[in-house]
Symmetry: C2
Subunit: 291 residues, 2 copies
């Protein structure tokens, strides 16, 4: 019990808090919608106290958007190549000896800027737990899909694609909105979208999706699958150009399927890995390395 | 005076009505915001009567979204290759001998669907007026940018890219919205966007635009120009692959500049042509050919 601590995966819209014992076992946890964007007045200290009231008066390590400029404090970024030691060395203690926040990771080489915050814990945790090899290409699907190249167990480089957010924008009031409220699934329409997306002509592909509906060339029920394929295929094809070997899909249960299908459709092999397990392994590994 | 008639360029959000004499000269015109989407209850007959009350009790030829399934009637589509004769033969008379609507143009070859409605009048009018040669590549910038290949004075093929609408979606409440309310202009930021857009990796380019701001690598004042370049460059590079010769930019005064700049940045030459003149020439040529 004395070695117990609290880990918080604190994103923009949700958070998950876990009490972890000295052996790294999750003994209690909960999930709610107290994400960074709804913390009124930015009173994160009160929020942390509420978590402790529920899970115990224990030290706490947070990761995710809680460390952004819209969160508790800006915990900064560690540049690539980034490993567990650098993240642990960069911890930002917001309550001395009590509460720390994991920094994000950035890359700026060649004039191309990119950032991640929260995904780095899953990525390095997946390696630490043996779920992903030390050298791998890993995709984390979502609002902002992350593609990371792992080398020697470090995050060597990465690219973020605005996949889920563009789908959400199109769903709400665009010319393309019709049909996008239906569920997207793997199948002929999804794979036709992946193939069109892989042509690298997304803006024309999007209008063409609408035109196919207008001309009666596609069933409205297939539109969400097609457009989902178009966006995921557009992202995936660029990232897989020149890649050989497996691609690891690090996702919550059920969310990795469409990316795995797109990777398969483009002639590569995908392995789906549970991101919740990877988070626990990653945040525990950083906790063990804290100063 | 007996040969006078009324032409209406009737789009989704605006319309322009012109009284044209037998010599093809515009003798009176007005523009307002009574676009198709605001005509309450779809009472287009009353709207047409209002136009006649202002410009004269004359025959009327309409083009644009007024001929869509959200307009007066669905005036259908003429397939490519489409010329003035086919459009004139396909006129949809909504008020016998009084009021007609020009059909749109569609293409469906090779499983790629696309439609236009209104742009066909400008395209064929530009050729009829000698503003664009009979064989040409023409771009019409806008919410949905059209790229048409003209051959022998006909619309041989075309592609629509959702450029302006995606910019508008990003401006309203996306992660990228910060700075997009400022004006976009040609310059170093715009051309950096064009170069990144030409790489065919739009979804990553969009997130990277945000990351550059977060990391202090780009001034917020340059963001709209950069993102505009990213979208226009993404569209333009695909369309110019393998193209030789001039590109004609058919646009309202002032709106063709960014496309012309992107075409220049990608190593091609652009000529800007006034789309209002092209519309008058096109609708007049169709009117002369009516049955």
């Amino acid at each position: 019990m004395t070695g117990d601590w609290i880990a918080v995966d604190w994103g923009s819209t949700n958070r998950r808090a876990l009490r972890i014992d000295a052996d790294g076992t999750v003994v209690e946890h909960f999930r709610d919608d107290r994400g960074v964007l709804v913390v009124a007045g930015g009173d994160f200290a009160t929020e942390a106290a509420t978590i402790r009231a529920r899970l115990g008066d224990l030290p706490m390590l947070c990761a995710g958007m809680v460390g952004s400029n819209r969160g508790w404090v800006d915990a900064g970024y560690v540049p690539v190549p980034a490993g567990l030691e650098a993240l642990a060395a960069g911890l930002c203690w917001v309550e001395p000896s009590r509460t720390a926040i994991v920094p994000g990771v950035c890359r700026t080489a060649g004039g191309r800027a990119d950032v991640m915050r929260g995904e780095e814990v899953q990525l390095l945790g997946a390696v630490a737990a043996g779920l992903v090899p030390a050298d791998a290409l890993v995709v984390q699907p979502g609002t902002h899909a992350k593609w990371a190249t792992l080398a020697g167990g470090m995050i060597a480089d990465f690219t973020t694609a605005m996949v889920g957010e563009v789908f959400a924008l199109l769903s709400k009031g665009s010319l393309l909105a019709d049909g996008l409220d239906m569920p997207a699934a793997d199948g002929a329409a999804f794979r036709a979208g992946v193939a069109r997306g892989a042509e690298g002509d997304l803006l024309a592909g999007l209008f063409g999706a609408r035109a196919a509906l207008v001309l009666g060339k596609r069933d409205r029920c297939d539109q969400a699958s097609y457009v989902s394929g178009l966006l995921i295929g557009s992202d995936t094809a660029v990232r897989l150009a020149g890649h050989r070997g497996l691609v690891h899909v690090l996702a919550e249960a059920g969310l990795g399927g469409l990316y795995a299908a797109a990777i398969d459709a483009l002639g590569h092999r995908a392995v789906v890995v549970n991101s919740a397990d990877a988070f626990v392994a990653g945040i525990s590994a950083i906790w063990q390395r804290r100063a």
